[in-house]
Amino acid sequence: MGDLLTKRLIACFDMQNGMVTKARQFQNNIPVDRAELVADRVYQDQIDEIIFYDITASAQKRCIDLETVAKVARKVFVPFTVGGGIKNLDEMYQVLKAGAEKISIDSMAVRCPDLIREGALAFGRQCIVLSMQVKRVAKSGRIPSGYEIMIDGARVATGLDAVVWARKGEELGAGEICVNSIDRDGTHAGYDLALTALISQQVNVPVIASGGAGHPRHVAEVFTRTGASGAIISSMLYSPLMPRNYTVREIKDYLADCRIPVRPWVETDPGMKTQA
């Protein structure tokens, strides 16, 4: 309510060895292009925000690929979030120093919830994005919402209820909560609207919908039918597995036609802009 901000379109990329890759439900990664080139294209197409996940940093027990983070940061002048196995304040600082604005934490936050609190204290809560991998399960005493938090590439169940975890994350200092539906991830069948609506009702920080977008109407749906402030798009922008891809401009035009407030795509570059 009273939320007058435009809805954010957020491009999300998985990176591996400096390349953007595309996976389907966390498997079969295929390389797409160099990270900074993909980032530059989507920035030039006026995306609102960009997220990069270093998908193997955690499994390989190494720090995020800072060199690639820095290369991307030199190309994009919209908010840039980085995630992937970040486990302490020093690593957060390194990522910010490399030019990112926000840190996404996921499995590590479940293992060590204090990481959210410490990160928010050190760098401000706007810097800490709590990313949640959520799976639909039978409602039970332990998981009353029927949505369970998974970790480690969505392989390990935690017994944590997604609503409980989202509220806890907000309380600990997360400035944003990104809700990824494992069931929808890579399906291109649309976001989990019930899940997104539920979480956005339960917290007061901005919620980002993730997992399942395959068509601009999915993005429109999540903005009209849930309280999401932002929506992650990935496959529909660049995946070679999709029958067709969409430009940021096409998606924004579609949203504007649906009367959803978006930062409008503008024709000219800054050097060409004339005085109003």
Binding site: M1, G2, D3, L4, L5, T6, K7, R8, Y43, Q46, D48, A73, R74, F77, V78, P79, F80, L96, K97, A98, G99, E101, A122, F123, G124, R125, Q126, C127, G175, E176, N204, V205, P206, S229, G230, R263, P264, V266, D269, P270, K273, T274, Q275, A276
Partner: protein, 214 residues
């Protein structure tokens, strides 16, 4: 040469990246001595008012900054927290601030999602050289839970709505400040930085700006 004040908690690298892509000479500064040779200053900011004030104090930068801005009239641009600490007081952590401008910093009330995070419309209240090439209304990227309430109406260069109308940009003499992250606001944000840099480049002295109240 633009000095980007680096106090280890801010987003100085992002600002530096933006200036470099515009081919503007800039470097990080974190000591009073390093301020000597700069012709423009940018104070970026993320995090809390208190942490920012503490860092500036520990680095011994405050008297040197005041000499640059008030003595030499060096163009200055505060971003986000770098805008808020220009006021006398911030309700965030009950923090006394620089007091370069009269006024205070308060929190948005609970009717809106906090922090404000995203692209919002900025309406400029008058023309200014720093706005060259920008339309009267433009979208910029915000991340803030608090907003400035300057006492003097004439320092307000732009306003934005988020639950209420607030001052999203101010200008007074050589001092400019934006609540939005101009370094992360795409083409429009880069345009504003470029304009600021040309004001700071020596082509035009700050005293010639039409709104100067010094």
């Amino acid at each position: 040469m633009i000095g980007v004040i680096d106090y280890k908690a801010g987003n100085a690298p992002s600002v530096l990246n933006a200036l470099r892509t515009l081919n503007i000479k800039a470097r990080l500064v974190s000591t009073p001595e390093a301020l000597d040779s700069v012709t423009g200053l940018i104070l970026p900011g993320v995090g809390s008012a208190r942490a920012t004030m503490d860092s500036l104090r520990e680095l011994g930068l405050i008297p040197a900054l005041e000499e640059k801005v008030f003595g030499e009239k060096t163009p200055f641009l505060g971003i986000c927290i770098g805008m808020q600490i220009l006021m006398e007081y911030s309700a965030e952590g009950d923090t006394p601030c620089l007091g370069w401008l009269k006024g205070r910093v308060d929190k948005f009330d609970g009717a809106v999602r906090i922090p404000q995070m995203g692209w919002n419309k900025v309406t400029f209240q008058r023309r200014d050289p720093v706005l060259a090439g920008l339309p009267e209304k433009e979208f910029f990227y915000f991340v803030n839970s608090y907003y400035v309430r300057p006492e003097a109406e004439e320092v307000v260069l732009a306003t934005t709505h988020y639950g209420r109308e607030f001052c999203s940009m101010l200008a007074w003499g050589p001092i400019y400040a934006t609540q939005f992250h101009t370094e992360k606001s795409g083409a429009a944000g880069l345009q504003l930085l470029k304009n600021f840099a040309s004001l700071a480049g020596g082509g035009r002295s700050a005293d010639e700006t039409p709104h100067c109240l010094f």
